[in-house]
Symmetry: C2
Subunit: 263 residues, 2 copies
């Protein structure tokens, strides 16, 4: 199958929203028309064979699914709703393109563009774009003294088919002061959020531990695909308090352990 | 140097526009606030070692420069001005990150986000975002019968340090009916533009040939980083007419030859 035939298949098969995207796959660029008062948020993540997954432990479809899940988790962490994605694939075999893209499409997000090329190992780069009302994006730096800091589910267990917490966007937007997704481990991500906000915290409770995981893993494991949220009052069911923000030397009192791509 | 230290260096060193980008590197997502009446255009291109370049023929800085040039050329082809870029790097050695990014920064475009990871070969994925007044993006599909089809410079010679034709954006926007950049060879790109527009053409002149190239190369070579533009009247100096659009079987009468990543 030629590159053009694969692009035509992607264009025909990709989910459509019919909102905002004026021109999708097939021109030099995709064209997006923002709604009135809309701000856009963007995240990009590489998902690389030998680094983020191995074959055949992951099927091509699972790889595509996870690559998109990573971007959507970042959108949820900003309080944003998905608008479209750009998906760049470099693959050793063109037969991988369709199953990889089927995994991407499973999230139901419009794919407005991308690139297709050859590489000895699978490299997927997903850019996810989300929309949020002007000024309402939830940053890491928004924590206020006295805030409850909570996580959104049990932690510590690696997930093959993670569910980005887009279901929480409406509940946290306008109510939380800050949010981020837990990708490199709760302890390191908590430290990052507090540093960004110039605050410290007191640990008030252990995080909920996923079935089959240890408390150590819940604190220091990565790829949890849950959110870390700070707010002035409790957010209700499904949010598990772990700390309270206080003035002090910026950062978490826990030793941060986590994932660094070059260590 | 740790990943975090490299990200801090990128954040400090990247060019800033101070326009539109509300949150850049360092949060889960970048945040962009569109101007009133602004549409955004997006393009993404992989630049891969062993596929798009070899070392040491290209230095890391030249690789970064070219990776960004490819995206900016697509913005020019839409009649768009650069707003920001997202740059994802996967490298075999962290010492490559700074020179690669210096090549990216040489274009003066704000880098609002990206990803940094490890791979056995250099993979750079650049997303370029441009702005254009609402409804004014130049598509491939806009050619009208009778249009002059022109190229913007001599073709056929591979360029190590290509210059994206952003200098032409003001001249073509609002005057051209259609535009695209010549990346896979004039003959194949002309065919694509005419098919997208449902038209055929009559060839009226040979394209200008770059010094050291042949006419065959000018027609069928790729990576020219010039634009193919269709308009109702001549666009003036610096535009070289090659064809006139006519009704007929969609496509170019020339046999399209060009680059297909899987052939």
């Amino acid at each position: 199958m030629s590159e053009q035939a694969l692009i035509d298949w992607i264009r025909k098969t990709a989910p459509r929203f019919g909102q905002g995207v004026r021109v999708g796959i097939g021109d030099d660029c995709a064209v997006y028309r923002p709604a009135r008062g809309e701000e856009l948020v963007f995240t990009t993540d590489f998902t690389i064979e030998g680094r983020h997954f191995e074959r055949p432990a992951y099927t091509p479809r699972e790889i595509g699914y996870k690559a998109m899940a990573r971007g959507l988790s970042d959108l949820a962490a900003m309080g944003a709703e998905p608008r479209f994605a750009l998906v760049s694939l470099a693959v050793p075999d063109e037969a991988l393109v369709k199953p990889l893209m089927r995994g991407v499409f499973a999230h139901g997000v419009e794919v407005a563009g991308g690139d297709l090329s050859w590489s000895g190992k699978i490299h997927v780069d997903v850019v996810a774009c989300g929309g949020v009302p002007r000024g309402k994006a939830l940053l890491r730096s928004g924590v206020k003294p006295g805030d409850v800091i909570a996580v959104t589910g049990p932690l510590g267990r690696w997930k093959k088919r993670p569910r980005p917490r887009l279901d929480l966007v409406e509940r946290i937007r306008g109510r939380a002061h800050a949010a981020m997704d837990i990708t490199d481990g709760l302890s390191i991500d908590l430290d990052r959020m507090l540093r960004a906000s110039g605050l410290s915290c007191e640990i008030t409770a252990a995080p909920p531990v996923a079935r089959g995981a240890t408390l150590e893993q819940a604190w220091h494991h990565g790829e949890d695909y849950e959110l870390l949220v700070a707010s002035g009052k409790p957010l209700g069911e499904g949010f598990y308090e772990i700390a309270r923000a206080v003035e002090g030397k910026p950062g978490s009192p826990l030793p941060p352990k986590g994932w660094d791509h070059f260590r």
